[in-house]
């Protein structure tokens, strides 16, 4: 198995997009894929690969700070990747085990999005990861709202987005942290029942840098699609609210197994599950529409779910 990530450089990613991803998109989608990829080309325009880091999010903040303190702006779409993270964590300080063999990192995205479109950003990494897993042969991959990726009911990938206001120029960034279990097959006892890696499901090792290229190319596409649809919407007249059926929402629905499931909902569902309900749909803005046992419905935009049934 090859877990060498040093081959990940922007020019190779550009080549991959031009020779593999773009032709595939042209075949699969009626949208203007070439323009979409141009809009998303900033993602991975700079790639820094480290053998190990404490936390990729912290490195991203330090990198932005260091750039600005030396009189420069950080490149939008800079990507920080590490072969291993020593103190990685999920939300609410949950454990995230990041040994060699996985894909761990952080993408810096300048907040240039219209307010009506920011909600779609967290849906993107789940879609990109799920598509990459399907292409690798893991057809069972599915997204659990908002962006957890599950293989056979266990978490294969997790994403979190933290805002950061740069110290000198006061630019707002989204730090998109990602953790994908690819070839790493040992988990600490507390994660054994809930976490899984791609190689465990496929029963074979996976070429890590190839998988990373596929995932990053898809991230480029969907980030580009977010900006492309903003432009299209403005050309259609824009407005206060975006009420159209966003192609990101459409794709999310195709790849998710959340709709129709009975779920536990909570802001921190592991520590404090609040209620159970049935997921009836996804709202146009990405919110989760939940039908309660008394027949009423509500929409949740923050929080997380766990499936009630296996």
């Amino acid at each position: 198995m090859n877990n060498n990530l040093s081959l990940l450089i922007p020019s190779i990613l550009d080549d991959y997009v031009a020779t593999v991803e773009l032709p595939w998109r042209r075949k699969e989608s009626a949208l203007d894929s070439e323009t979409i990829f141009r809009y998303g080309a900033f993602a991975g325009s700079v790639i820094r690969v480290y053998p190990s880091l404490v936390r990729a999010m912290d490195t991203a903040r330090s990198h932005i700070r260091a750039c600005e303190e030396s009189g420069r702006s950080v490149a939008n779409g800079s990507l920080i990747i590490a072969s291993t993270l020593s103190l990685s964590k999920g939300r609410f300080s949950r454990t995230w085990h990041a040994p060699p063999g996985g894909l761990w990192g952080c993408l810096l995205v300048a907040d240039t999005f219209l307010p009506q479109f920011r909600n779609f950003l967290p849906l993107i990494p789940g879609i990109a990861c799920c598509e990459a897993l399907h292409q690798e042969g893991a057809s069972v991959a599915a997204i659990r709202w908002v962006n957890d990726v599950l293989l056979e009911g266990k978490k294969q990938a997790g994403f979190l987005i933290e805002g950061f206001c740069s110290p000198v120029y006061k630019e707002n960034y989204h730090l998109l942290g990602f953790g994908l279990n690819i070839n790493n097959e040992s988990f600490p006892p507390e994660l054994l029942e809930t976490a899984v890696s791609l190689s465990q499901v496929l029963n074979r090792p996976v070429e890590l840098s190839s998988f990373a290229l596929s995932f990053l190319a898809k991230l480029r596409y969907y980030l580009g699609l977010l900006l492309y649809e903003e432009e299209q919407w403005l050309a259609r007249g824009g407005g206060d609210e975006y009420l159209d059926d966003h192609p990101i929402i459409q794709r999310w629905k195709e790849l998710s197994d959340t709709l129709g499931k009975r779920v536990q909902f909570g802001y921190d569902v592991m520590e404090n599950p609040q209620y159970e309900a049935l997921v009836s749909d996804l709202a146009v803005d990405g919110g989760l529409i939940l039908r309660h046992d008394d027949g009423t419905s509500s929409v949740e935009h923050s929080g997380e779910i766990r499936y009630c049934e296996k």
Binding site: P122, E162, G239, E241, G286, S297, S302
Partner: protein, 219 residues
Amino acid sequence: MMSDEIDFDEILGKYHSDPYEYVDIYASHTGRIHFLIKEGDEVDAVSGEWNHIPGTALFEITRERNPKNVTATTNGVVSVLCDEFEGKFVEAGEKLMTIRHPLKKKEIIESILKEVLYVFPAPERAKYFFSLDVQSRVDKKGAREVSVKPGDEIIIMSLMKRDTPVYYSGEQGVIHSVYFKPGVSVERGEPLIGICPSEKLPIIQKIINKVKAEWDKND
């Protein structure tokens, strides 16, 4: 704005003579309006353990064949209905009705405090929680011992698994009132916290005591 010269009689007199809040309801976006209530109707607010039971349906607004029911978020009586808009197309921000909401003692105190505290509003409809540093200080000493100044990262806004720090802008002071609960959504523009310069805390307490005493006496 905070003032040492607070005319308690005037404030209390105002609430005694008219113990209501008048909540204007506006069109959230352009669309054709169809009212679902009439003037004088009583309306209920959102309810249920998880705020999952919607309030009374007030009107339907239709844009591009996409109808949306707008429901009451506060209880009360429809005191003004702009029924000239029935069946008409309105612009975003058009006033459609007023709901007269009867105030409870606690709401009156909060209402007066919002006039005298610096109220920091929610930038977006989202869930909010204190940043780790502020939360640990609140846990240790209580909110009213926690001082904030402009530029401090005080609150985290959480929306669709996207956590964004919110930086305080306003008068330096201590956190007197906390209007959000962890895990409960706050609408854009609704107050998150009320800040008061620490030297003004005694006068704030005086207001609360005075309102409680006066209100109980008159009740």
